[in-house]
């Protein structure tokens, strides 16, 4: 039991930031992202003994996270919660530019379906191979490929995102 607790604590410590970042790309809000990660971890904890025996516990947690987010998205009421702290902290550098990029990305991701958004985030941002994305999404690899292609095609239509990508390329 102690080993289990220790393993879980290590996992949370090591992966919570990466999970939060993925969660932000899914939800577009830091408070929601934190809530999503906590919920996914809380749901995984009772089964941690079995999860840790797997090769990749993170894949399981991501799957719980995507499923949870999918459930939240289907709700009419999104369960909005008040946050005590302002989520965005002041940042040095080109604040206006960063904010513009963030808004553009959030807006572009918002134009995708939930499934497209999840596949895109897992495949592009988390750099998971297609087979693992298929595992997380509980679908075939072919479905991942087609969903990914449709998501990219849709993003290319977004002029603000296209402009940002050009700037990034330069």
């Amino acid at each position: 039991m102690d080993a289990e607790v220790e393993h879980f604590a290590h996992f949370v410590e090591a992966r919570e930031r990466a999970l939060q970042r993925t969660a932000w790309l899914l939800t577009g809000d830091w408070a929601l992202a934190e809530d999503l990660v906590q919920t996914a971890l809380a749901r995984s904890w009772p089964r941690w003994e079995r999860i840790r025996r797997r090769d990749d516990p993170e894949l399981y947690v991501r799957r719980v996270m995507v499923n949870t987010w999918s459930t939240w998205s289907r709700r009419r009421w999104r369960g909005e919660r008040a946050s005590a702290a302002v989520p965005d902290s002041p940042a040095p550098g080109d604040l206006a530019g960063e904010l513009a990029a963030r808004l553009a990305v959030r807006s572009a991701l918002g134009s995708l379906t939930h499934r497209q958004r999840a596949v895109l985030v897992l495949r592009v941002f988390d750099d998971l191979p297609e087979s693992q994305v298929a595992q997380v999404m509980n679908c075939a690899v072919g479905t991942v490929k087609s969903t990914m292609a449709r998501a990219l095609a849709k993003l290319r239509e977004d002029p603000r995102l296209a402009e940002l990508m050009e700037q990034e390329a330069r």
């Binding site: 949370v12 932000w24 971890l41 963030r102 990305v105 990508m165």
Partner: protein, 404 residues
Amino acid sequence: MSETSRQLRDLLEAAVGEPPRTVTVQAVRRRVTRRRIIESMAAAIVAVLVAGLGVAVAVRASGSGQASGPRPPAGVPRYYVEQGFRNTPPAVTVIRATATGAVTATVHCPARGASILGSGIAAASHRTFFLVCEEQTGPRNDPQVTGSRIYRFHLTATGRIARYTLMPGGSLDGLSVREVTASADGAEVAVTTSPAGPVNSSVSPNIMVINTRTGTRALWHGSPAVPGKMALSAGEPSLTADGRELVYLATPRCIRGHCQPTGNGQEVRALSPAAAGGQLSSSRLLARQSALVPLASGYLDGALVSANGSSVFVLEMNSPPRGGSTTVSVVKVSAATGRPLRVVYRVPTGNGFSFRFFSADPFRRYLLLDAGPPSGAMPNGWIYHRHLLPLSPRDGTNVFYETW
């Protein structure tokens, strides 16, 4: 990974930035604890709600808490009408659930100043009932009937009365109804009638058959009163399921003066087609009392034609002259031969008997009987495989009439 994907990834990286807060193990564990508490509370709430719902359903089903035994077999009518004695307060007519005896509704006459006729309710299929209301004038302790109205009401699935409607042809001004019956399909209603006003023993009742859709009436005239001669008085009418045939119990009566007994006793007679009208004397004889019980010691107190008219359920009372126990019997009699086919129910009642009513469901499958010893409790129930299964109230002493 393609170039586009790489560019997109860099863009996503730049857009995401760093999370403002850290997700700690302690926070996750607090959430796990909270989830467990919420889950157990939800489970407890669900359990309480389910238990509460169960209790509510049970209380609702059992009404005042009276239970009349095990659940009745499938097919038995779910509700029955119980009419209390008029002079025994509270003189009410109620709907009761067969399974529990719980009162689900109270029957009343829609018109002000009218009261429900004793035994004035007939049942048809689909929880349809016909209600006879008497319009009265004069003092409360000695009212005079001025006319009758027949209403129709339906019971809901929960035993409530949906609404009352005046039956077409159901306004019987100047007539007093004595008994009422209905065909199972509810298309025909038959009533025994006599002129309204003070009871005139020299008048034999007529039988009126009313089409409940069109209001068309057919009248069967009773025997004319001839002083010193026995006449057959019609009573206990019942219709076949399709309403084509009407069966009644004809009882010899000396209408005026002193009559010489004919020795024929009571007769079960049939009118067919019921909606034709005419003279009751033209009816067909189905069975004689003498073929069922000894004329000297027996008596017929009821007759109900079967749904298809092939047989008649006859209620016999027989008190042997030399001190034997009185027996109350329900016997199935062939309409073709007038002979008994089988005894449906028989009960010894000791030295004499008490009797309240004998009725049935619209298809004559389930017979109701309230009869018993001359004193003490009177069993009230329905006949099932030669046994009387109790209905509420178990003691039918204060029950005037029931039907379902």
